[in-house]
């Protein structure tokens, strides 16, 4: 069953941030092998991420983690390292 608006996971059920889980999630969203998502692989230059895939990343991250991502923050997300750092900072700020 596809994720539904009305059954978006509640905040308490979110899993903790884990680098390998994040790597797996990005690989799934971008439909590439996990090995291609190196810490420094550039989403646009190396992985061919376009604006639609970028939105897909955002929607999935917001569904998986208790964060909201602003449009200008998205443009800063170029690698797994960047994504991990931003999520980590946001989750720490919220806790």
């Amino acid at each position: 069953m596809a994720e539904e608006t009305r059954t978006a996971p509640d905040r308490a059920s979110h899993a903790a941030l884990d680098r390998e889980r994040l790597r797996g999630l990005l690989a799934e969203i971008l439909d590439v092998d996990v090995a291609q998502i190196s810490d420094q692989a550039h989403f646009v230059d190396d992985l061919g991420v376009d604006s639609l895939m970028a939105l897909e990343i955002t929607v999935r991250l917001e569904a998986e983690f208790p964060v909201k991502l602003a449009e200008e923050e998205l443009t800063q997300l170029a690698t797994l390292d960047d994504t991990y750092a931003l999520l980590d900072a946001k989750l720490r700020a919220a806790s």
Partner: protein
């Protein structure tokens, strides 16, 4: 005219804003159940939840899915979910109102060093045009498009008019209208119809993303013989009206829903309006 929407499921692709949202509301008002697909970040998700509540307040069933409708993965997960919702009964109405594309000129200019890339052009065509074909294929295979189904796809004057930065979307709309004609013929034996609705310039979140929209919004409002722009509710009215068509004879067309904006020459009609 008999209400053929009551207690029937309808599918709106691109349901959270603009024409999709207005159409979802109008369909629910007619007693139709609404399945909607949107693709939004947190703020949009909240708005979609509120829309779902509003739709249900009409006494109908409503389910909105936050999924990328243009992706194969999203579509193949949604089609079985839709079949479950309808109990396998065909959809009465399907509205394709997906607006997501690259608004970048083909060639770099002095202002914008950027030029459209292959990936951007292909993504725009895929989302705004080709996804209609893939959805129709899968909905037909699932028995959700069948006798009586009325499919509508939102096009624009971009098929005949050129705007800066709108080249990829113009191409997508031209392809979309071609897909509509092809599907109309191939769907005829199934008793389903498909038409493109060409809305006039309409202020929606998608329009506000088009560079230079301020100028043509102003010009369009002045040039429209009705003296105003198209509103999303105008499109919703057309979808409701045509969804009630008893047969599939009206099919394969591009239908203007623009108050005659496209055919009105220049600003000649606005002057008449002003001196009335």
């Amino acid at each position: 005219m008999r209400n053929r929407l009551r207690d029937r499921w309808c599918l709106v692709l691109g349901a959270s804003s603009g024409m999709g949202r207005a159409t979802a509301l109008a369909l629910a008002e007619q007693g139709a159940h609404v399945a909607g697909v949107h693709f939004d970040r947190a703020d949009g998700v909240q708005a979609a939840r509120e829309l779902e509540c509003t739709l249900r307040s009409q006494g109908v069933r409503a389910h909105l899915f936050n999924v990328n409708a243009a992706s194969d993965r999203g579509r193949t997960r949604l089609v079985p979910a839709l079949a479950e919702l309808t109990g396998g009964r065909p959809l009465r109405t399907v509205l394709h109102s997906l607006a997501f594309g690259s608004l970048v000129p083909f060639l770099p200019t002095d202002d914008t060093k950027q030029a459209l890339t292959r990936a951007q052009l292909e993504m725009t065509l895929d989302v705004m045009a080709h996804s209609l074909v893939y959805w129709t294929q899968d909905l037909l295979a699932a028995g959700l498009v069948a006798e009586g189904t009325r499919i509508f796809a939102m096009t624009s004057a971009g098929t005949s008019q050129v705007l800066p930065s709108y080249g990829a979307v113009s191409a997508a709309k031209a392809a979309l209208e071609s897909h509509v004609r092809q599907l109309a013929c191939e769907l005829a034996p199934h008793g389903a119809s498909v038409n493109a609705l060409r809305a006039g310039v309409t202020v929606t979140p998608s329009l506000l993303r088009i560079p230079g929209h301020e100028e043509f919004v102003g010009d369009s409002a002045a040039g429209n013989p009705h003296g105003r722009l198209t509103i999303p509710e105008d499109v919703a009215e057309a979808v409701v009206l045509l969804s009630n068509a008893p047969s599939s004879w009206l099919t394969g067309n591009t239908i203007g829903v623009d108050g005659a904006e496209l055919v009105a020459a220049g600003a000649t009609w606005s002057r008449r309006e002003a001196t009335r």
